[in-house]
Structure formats: structure tokens, C-alpha cells
């Protein structure tokens, strides 16, 4: 494996290039170029934050389910537990674990998205 340039740097270079040609594009392509830059932003953040986010998610799911496994296996198991009604909003620790996982996911997908709990 090589150390440099890192994948993050390669993605950043492409992103900067798209940004530089964006003003010269017709409107529809300029819009899609902006989307492309956003896509590369997700890739960059996933490269930087993804491994730790997944490791944390696996740890939370393991604690919640009391089972071992990789993310895919544990996630599928959790979905099945909810689908079958074995787990629900009242299950201790479920909402907290899901919230912690999705908070790390949204930091990758849309770091500027603001979500607040409704005041009821």
C-alpha cells in the first residue's frame, strides 16, 4: 500500500477541479456538477469517519442484541427483531442506540442537516 496521495486527497483534487469548471457549464450541467461536488464530500467524510462510525455501530448493536457479528449480520438481526415485534420503541436502549448510530451517519451524509426533537 502507498502512503501518498491518500484517497481523500485524490477525491479532493477531483472535487476542486469540478468546482473550477462549474461556472462555464450550461445551467443543468452546472447544477449536476454541484451535486457531484456534494457526492465527493460524502465520499471524503466516509473515508475519514466511516471506519470509526461502523466500529461504534457494531459495538452498540452487539450490546443491544447480546450477539456477536459484523455490521451487516447484526443490522439484519435487529431489523428482524423489530419486524417480528420482539423489539419496539419501549425496548430499553433501542432508541438511544439507533440515535447514536444515525447521528454518526448523518455526520457523513449531511453534516449541515439540523434535526430537533419536537417540544410536545
Amino acid at each position: 500500500m502507498i502512503e501518498h496521495p491518500k484517497a481523500e486527497e485524490l477525491v479532493e483534487a477531483v472535487s476542486k477541479w469540478i468546482d473550477s469548471v462549474r461556472p462555464s457549464l450550461p445551467p443543468r450541467d452546472a447544477f449536476l456538477a454541484r451535486v457531484a461536488v456534494n457526492v465527493l464530500g460524502v465520499v471524503q467524510r466516509e473515508l475519514a469517519l466511516g471506519p470509526a462510525a461502523e466500529a461504534n455501530a457494531v459495538r452498540r448493536l452487539r450490546d443491544l442484541l447480546g450477539q456477536e457479528g459484523d455490521f451487516q449480520a447484526l443490522n439484519a438481526q435487529l431489523c428482524e427483531a423489530i419486524r417480528s415485534g420482539e423489539m419496539g420503541v419501549e425496548t430499553p436502549g433501542l432508541l438511544a442506540a439507533l440515535k447514536a448510530n444515525i447521528t454518526e451517519q448523518i455526520a457523513i451524509d449531511q453534516p449541515n442537516y439540523v434535526s430537533v426533537r419536537p417540544a410536545t
Partner: protein
């Protein structure tokens, strides 16, 4: 659906108009959308009921050679949600929008459904429909699973069906900096159902354009919306019913984002936009967690 802005000039008078036209074939029986003839009838009925609309100028006849189409007046204003919630131009009108939206919805809900070929949809029907789409996608998203279960257990008591706009949100409202809502646009999803469905869709966080602190469209408060609704003759709707449908709205939007990603994954479309929308599922998931934490 095609939308064309054009200017008609006759005897020295210029008229700014909008042509809506469906280029392909359409079967109203099986579609979720209404025909343009039904849409025109709805817009006329809404206008009579006192809701702001872009009035129908002409419903195309076969001899017009346009196919299925209608022409409406062109109302000026802004539809971009982000501008409506943040542009200083709307500062004076913004505090009044939520109440105004409540009043407008009460007027739309007063339309008689007689003679309008509208389908009806209730919460359980919507859950069935979107759960089938979700299952078909093969996605495994625990928060969506939980939201389906949660909403099935909490369906609100039955209520009298009303004519719904069914896509009433910031983005489908033409907003004038002085008058506020100048026209309600995009009527094609209209159906009969729970009035709280219309009141809540406007409150889904994805349509607040970054102003999460303002639950109604990113510009107002629940209380203003519900007060406006009651003032204009709408039924008393408890906030919990709105929150129920808001949760269902976030879930629906999450499943729609998944569907748009699927259209890329299956090779149906190649646009870079589609896979990126797939990453918007997580925004609905964080919203769903917050809604389930708060309860109804």
C-alpha cells in the same frame, strides 16, 4: 408532466400564462395522480372556496391539439423554500404564513368532493403501500422498521374524510413578499383523507430548509397553523394527530428517497442526482428518531 411559462399577446394585451401538459398516455383509474381535467376542476373549486390559486384560464379540448393540458394564470412570487425561510425580502410576511396556511387548508378542506374522481387514503393504507415499497427494495433500515411498527400501533381514531391537496408544503406555495401565500400549486396528488395529513406534510423537517426551530414550513409554529385552521372553519385538530401524520410523512419521504436511489441502482436512470438522494434517507431517520422519542 411538462410545465411551460409563456406570454400570450392579443390585440396589444400581454398575458403571462402557464401551460401544464402531459406528453404521454395516462390512466386515472390506476394512477396516484389526478388527470389534468380533475386538477382543473379542483383548482376551480378551491378558488370558489376562497383558497389562493393560479386560476384556470383554459382546459384543453381535443381540437386544441395539445393532448391532456390546461392553462392557468401565472402568479408572481417565490416558490424556493430556502428563500422563503431566509430571504430578508420575506421578513415582514413570514410571521403570518403559518396562520395563513391553516386558513387556506380549512378552505381547501371545505370543498365538496361530489363529482371529483378522487381516491381516498388513510393512515393504514399509506403504511401498507409504503411498507410494500420498502420491503420490495430489500433495504434493511432499523429506524424505518421501527417507524412502521410504531405508526401501526398508534393510528388515530377515524375522522371525516375531506378533500386534501396532499402535497401542501413549502416549495409548492407561491409566496409574495407582501401578500404571503399568493397561490397553492401542484394539485396532482389530491385525494380524500385525514385533514391532519395536509396540516402535517408542511411540518415535515425536510421542508423546513434548515429552520428546524420553526416547525411549520421553516417559518411558523404549530399553534398558529392550528388556530388559523379553526378560525377559517376547520375542525379542532389535536397536535398529536398532526405529529402522527408528520411522522408518517417523514417515513414516506424516507421511502421515496430509497425509491429514487433504487431507480439508479437498477440501471433505470444514470443521473448523479439519484444516488445522492439515497443519502437523504438518513435525514428522515434522524427526524423519525426525534419524533418517536418525543412521542405523540
Amino acid at each position: 408532466m411538462e410545465t411551460w411559462a409563456f406570454t400570450a399577446v392579443a390585440e396589444g394585451v400581454r398575458k403571462e400564462l402557464i401551460l401544464r401538459r402531459r406528453p404521454g398516455p395516462f390512466d386515472e383509474e390506476t394512477s396516484r395522480s389526478t388527470s389534468l381535467a380533475t386538477e382543473a376542476a379542483l383548482i376551480r373549486a378551491a378558488e370558489k372556496a376562497g383558497a389562493p390559486v393560479a386560476p384556470i384560464i383554459h382546459l384543453a379540448e381535443p381540437e386544441d391539439g395539445l393532448g391532456e393540458a390546461h392553462i392557468t394564470a401565472r402568479i408572481s412570487g417565490e416558490t424556493l423554500g430556502r428563500k422563503i425561510v431566509s430571504d430578508p425580502k420575506f421578513e415582514t410576511v413570514r410571521p403570518h404564513l403559518a396562520r395563513q396556511c391553516g386558513q387556506i387548508l380549512a378552505r381547501i378542506h371545505s370543498i365538496s368532493p361530489e363529482g371529483l374522481p378522487l381516491k381516498s387514503a388513510d393512515a393504514l393504507g399509506e403504511l401498507d403501500r409504503y411498507e410494500a415499497v420498502y420491503r420490495h427494495s430489500g433495504a434493511e433500515r432499523p429506524i424505518l422498521e421501527l417507524a412502521f411498527q410504531y405508526l401501526r400501533k398508534a393510528t388515530p381514531p377515524p375522522i371525516q374524510d375531506v378533500v386534501l391537496h396532499a402535497d401542501f408544503r413549502n416549495g409548492n406555495l407561491m409566496v409574495d413578499p407582501d401578500k404571503g401565500v399568493a397561490a397553492v400549486l401542484d394539485w396532482e396528488l389530491s385525494h380524500l383523507g385525514d385533514p391532519a395529513e395536509d396540516l402535517s406534510w408542511l411540518c415535515v423537517n425536510s421542508w423546513r430548509f434548515g429552520r428546524s426551530d420553526k416547525p411549520v414550513g421553516g417559518f411558523g409554529e404549530y399553534q398558529e397553523l392550528l388556530e388559523g385552521y379553526a378560525e377559517a372553519g376547520g375542525a379542532e385538530i389535536p397536535l398529536s394527530r398532526v405529529l402522527y401524520w408528520q411522522t408518517l410523512g417523514s417515513l414516506k419521504w424516507g421511502v421515496m428517497c430509497l425509491m429514487m436511489y433504487e431507480s439508479y441502482a437498477s440501471g433505470g436512470t444514470t443521473s448523479v442526482e439519484r444516488p445522492m438522494i439515497g443519502r437523504r434517507v438518513s435525514e428522515t431517520e434522524i427526524d423519525l428518531v426525534h419524533l418517536m422519542e418525543a412521542g405523540l
